[in-house]
C-alpha cells in the first residue's frame, strides 16, 4: 500500500525532520540565491585590471583577484549561473528522454520493451565521460552543446526506473479501472501511471543535477567546456592551477563552490528518497 497513502504533508514533515536533507536544501537555496543575485556583485566579473592582479582576499575583493585582476567573488557568482543552467537543462533533457522511453518500454512491453532496454544496455556500455569528451572534441565546445551531450548520455538510469515503475503499476486495478471507463493508452500513461511513478524520478533528477555540475566542471577544467572569458567553476580551477603555490584563493574557492553544491544536491536527493520511502520513515 505504501506509496498509495501518499500525503504531501507527511512527505514534507518527514523531509523537514531530516537534518542532513535540510542542510542540503539550504546549500541548494544558497546556490540559487548566488545565481540570481550575481548582477549585484560589487565588481564586473569580466573587467580586466592588471594593476589589481593576484590580490589576496581583502575587504574590497572578498575572495581576491585572478591573474588578470578580475574579482574572484563576482566570477564565482556568475559561475553559479552556469552550473545551475547546465545542471537543470542537462537533467531536464535526460529526464524527458528517460521518462518517454521508460514509459513506452514498461507500458507496452514485448518487442518495444526489448528494443528500448537493449538500447539502454548499449548506451551504458560506453564510459559516458569519454563519450562526452569524444563528441565535444568534434563539436564546438559551447555551453549548449555540453548541456545537450550530458543530457543525451544521462537518461538510461531514469528510463530503467520509469520502466520498473510502469511494469508494476500497469497491473494495478486503477489502471484496469481506467481502461473500463474507456481511457486511451495516452491518457492511462500520462494521467494514471506517470504521476504515480514520478517519485523515484524526482530523486534521481536531484542527484543527477549534482553529477551534471561535476561533469561540466570537469569538461571546463579540461578546456573543452565553457570557454573563457565566461566564468565557470571548472575553468576558474584551471587558471588557478598555474599559480597554486602563490595564489591559493584562485583554485580553493571555485573548488569549494563545486564541492558544496554537489554535496547539497546529493544530501537533498537522498533526503527526498528517504522521505518517499515509507519503510524508512520511522527509522530515524
Amino acid at each position: 500500500m505504501g506509496r498509495d497513502i501518499f500525503s504531501r504533508n507527511l512527505f514534507f514533515k518527514h523531509l523537514r525532520s531530516n537534518r542532513m536533507a535540510m542542510a542540503g536544501a539550504i546549500l541548494v537555496v544558497i546556490m540559487f540565491a548566488m545565481a540570481t543575485l550575481a548582477p549585484f556583485a560589487p565588481h564586473d566579473p569580466l573587467l580586466i585590471d592588471i594593476s589589481q592582479r593576484l590580490q589576496s582576499p581583502s575587504v574590497n575583493h572578498f575572495l581576491g583577484t585572478d591573474d588578470l585582476g578580475r574579482d574572484v567573488f563576482a566570477r564565482i557568482l556568475y559561475g553559479a549561473r552556469i552550473s545551475l543552467l547546465v545542471g537543470f537543462v542537462a537533467v531536464g533533457i535526460a529526464t524527458l528522454i528517460g521518462i518517454c522511453l521508460g514509459a513506452l518500454a514498461g507500458y507496452y512491453g514485448g518487442w518495444i520493451d526489448a528494443v528500448v532496454m537493449r538500447f539502454v544496455d548499449i548506451m551504458l556500455c560506453f564510459p559516458s565521460f569519454f563519450l562526452i569528451l569524444a563528441v565535444i572534441a568534434f563539436l564546438e565546445p559551447s555551453i549548449w552543446n555540453i548541456m545537450i551531450i550530458i543530457g543525451l548520455t544521462g537518461w538510461m538510469g531514469v528510463a530503467r526506473l520509469v520502466r520498473a515503475e510502469f511494469l508494476s503499476l500497469r497491473e494495478r486495478d486503477f489502471v484496469l479501472a481506467a481502461r473500463t471507463i474507456g481511457a486511451s493508452d495516452r491518457r492511462i500513461i500520462f494521467r494514471h501511471i506517470l504521476p504515480n511513478a514520478i517519485s523515484p524520478v524526482l530523486v534521481s533528477a536531484t542527484l543527477g543535477v549534482a553529477s551534471a555540475i561535476l561533469v561540466e566542471s570537469a569538461l571546463s577544467f579540461l578546456g573543452i567546456g565553457v570557454q573563457p572569458p565566461t566564468p565557470s567553476w571548472g575553468n576558474m580551477l584551471i587558471t588557478g592551477k598555474q599559480t597554486l603555490g602563490t595564489a591559493w584563493w584562485l583554485s580553493a574557492f571555485p573548488g569549494m563552490a563545486i564541492l558544496v553544491t554537489v554535496l547539497g544536491y546529493n544530501l537533498l536527493g537522498e533526503g527526498i528518497r528517504d522521505a518517499l520511502d515509507p519503510r524508512l520513515r520511522n527509522s530515524r
Partner: protein, 327 residues
C-alpha cells in the same frame, strides 16, 4: 426477448512457468463458460477463490483477451474487436472492483475521478460537468464536500461508493461487479448491497455479480451460477438453487453456510482441499471431493444440461443430489 449479454464457450488459459522458468504448464482458468443476462436482471456468479469467476468477469469486458468463445453484447460481437473499436462500447458496460483501495488512482481527487468518464465520452463539460459530478456523488450517498478530497481520506465503504459513482457516470447498461463487498466490513456490506439494488432499479441496470459468499448473492440475484475450477457447474433461479440444488458442489456450499443455532456442532462440509487448477482431476473436476462420485465421474466430463425449466446442472447424477443436504 433477446438477452443483453450472451457469452458462449468462453475459454482462457494462462501459461504458468515453473521455478527457473522451466516446465511450462497450462492453467485453464475459464473453461467453456456459457451464460446469458437479460436486461435488468442480476446473475450471481459464485465459487471458491481461484475458480475463475473474476477472470470470467474481466473476459466479458475484454480487460483480458479470451482464447476462444464469443461475447455478444447488445447485438454486437465483442470478441473480435480491437481495443480502439471497443472504447465507445465501454460506455455501455462498466465494472466495480473488488479492492476499493487499489482501484482508485491515489493521485486524483474524487471529483476528478468521477468526472473522468464524463470527459472521456464527452458527456459533459464546464459547469455541467461539475453539477453532474455532484449529482453522481449524491446518488451514491456522498456529497459536494467530498469533491476535493483524495481517495486515501475515505473508508473502504466510501471508496467503493466512489467506484460505483464512477461506473454509473456513463449510464451503462451492464455492470460487472467483481466481489464488490468482500473487502468490506460486514456492516458496510449491507449498505453497499442496498445501494447497488437501489441504483439498479433507478437506472435499469443489469448486473453480473461475482462473489464467493452465497448469502450476499442470495440477496441481490435473480439467478445464480456456481463455478468450480473454471467451469460452471450449476445455474438456476436463486430460490431454486438455494431450495433444491442439483449439483453436489452447490449442495456442499449450502451446507457450509453457518446456521445461527448456538451449540450446534457441524461436520466439515467438504472433504479435501480444492485441487490444483494446474492438474485438475479427470472427468468431472469435482469427483475427488464428491459423495455421489462413481466410476463414470472419473472418466467423463459431465456437460452442463438443462434438467428442467431452465435449471442447468453439470452432474452425471443430478437427480440424486439432495441426499446429503442438511438444513
Amino acid at each position: 426477448m433477446k438477452p443483453l449479454l450472451e457469452v458462449s464457450s468462453l475459454s482462457k488459459s494462462f501459461q504458468v512457468k515453473g521455478p527457473l522458468g522451466t516446465g511450462r504448464k497450462q492453467l485453464l482458468a475459464v473453461d467453456q463458460v456459457s451464460l446469458h443476462l437479460h436486461q435488468g436482471e442480476t446473475l450471481g456468479l459464485v465459487g471458491e477463490s481461484g475458480c475463475g469467476k473474476s477472470t470470467t468477469g474481466k473476459l466479458i469486458l475484454r480487460l483480458i483477451e479470451p482464447d476462444s468463445g464469443s461475447i455478444r453484447f447488445d447485438g454486437s460481437e465483442l470478441s473480435g474487436m480491437s481495443q480502439r473499436q471497443l472504447r465507445p462500447l465501454r460506455r455501455e458496460m462498466q465494472m466495480v472492483f473488488q479492492d476499493p483501495f487499489s482501484s482508485l488512482n491515489p493521485r486524483l481527487k474524487v471529483g476528478e475521478l468521477i468526472a473522468e468518464p464524463l470527459q472521456i465520452h464527452r458527456l459533459a463539460k464546464g459547469a455541467q460537468l461539475r453539477s453532474e459530478t455532484i449529482r453522481l456523488l449524491k446518488t451514491v450517498g456522498l456529497g459536494e464536500e467530498h469533491l476535493d478530497r483524495l481517495p486515501h481520506e475515505f473508508s473502504g465503504g466510501q471508496r467503493q461508493r466512489i467506484g460505483i459513482a464512477r461506473a454509473l457516470a456513463v449510464k451503462p447498461k451492464l455492470i460487472v461487479a467483481d466481489e464488490p463487498v468482500s473487502a468490506l466490513d460486514l456492516s458496510i456490506q449491507a449498505q453497499v448491497i442496498n445501494l447497488m439494488r437501489d441504483i439498479q432499479q433507478e437506472f435499469e441496470l443489469t448486473y453480473l455479480f461475482i462473489a464467493h459468499d452465497l448469502a450476499v448473492v442470495q440477496h441481490i440475484s435473480n439467478r445464480v451460477a456456481v463455478m468450480y475450477l473454471g467451469r460452471i457447474v450449476e445455474l438456476a433461479a436463486t430460490d431454486t438453487i438455494y431450495r433444491a440444488p442439483r449439483h453436489p458442489y452447490t449442495e456442499a456450499l449450502l451446507n457450509a453456510v453457518p446456521v445461527p443455532k448456538p451449540g450446534k456442532t457441524r461436520r466439515p462440509p467438504l472433504a479435501g482441499e480444492i485441487p490444483s487448477p494446474l492438474e485438475p482431476p479427470s472427468g468431472c473436476h469435482f469427483h475427488p471431493r464428491c459423495p455421489y462420485a462413481k466410476q463414470v465421474c472419473r472418466e467423463q466430463r459431465p456437460e452442463l444440461v438443462d434438467i428442467g425449466s431452465g435449471h442447468l446442472s453439470a452432474c452425471h447424477f443430478h437427480a440424486e443430489v439432495g441426499r446429503f443436504r442438511r438444513s
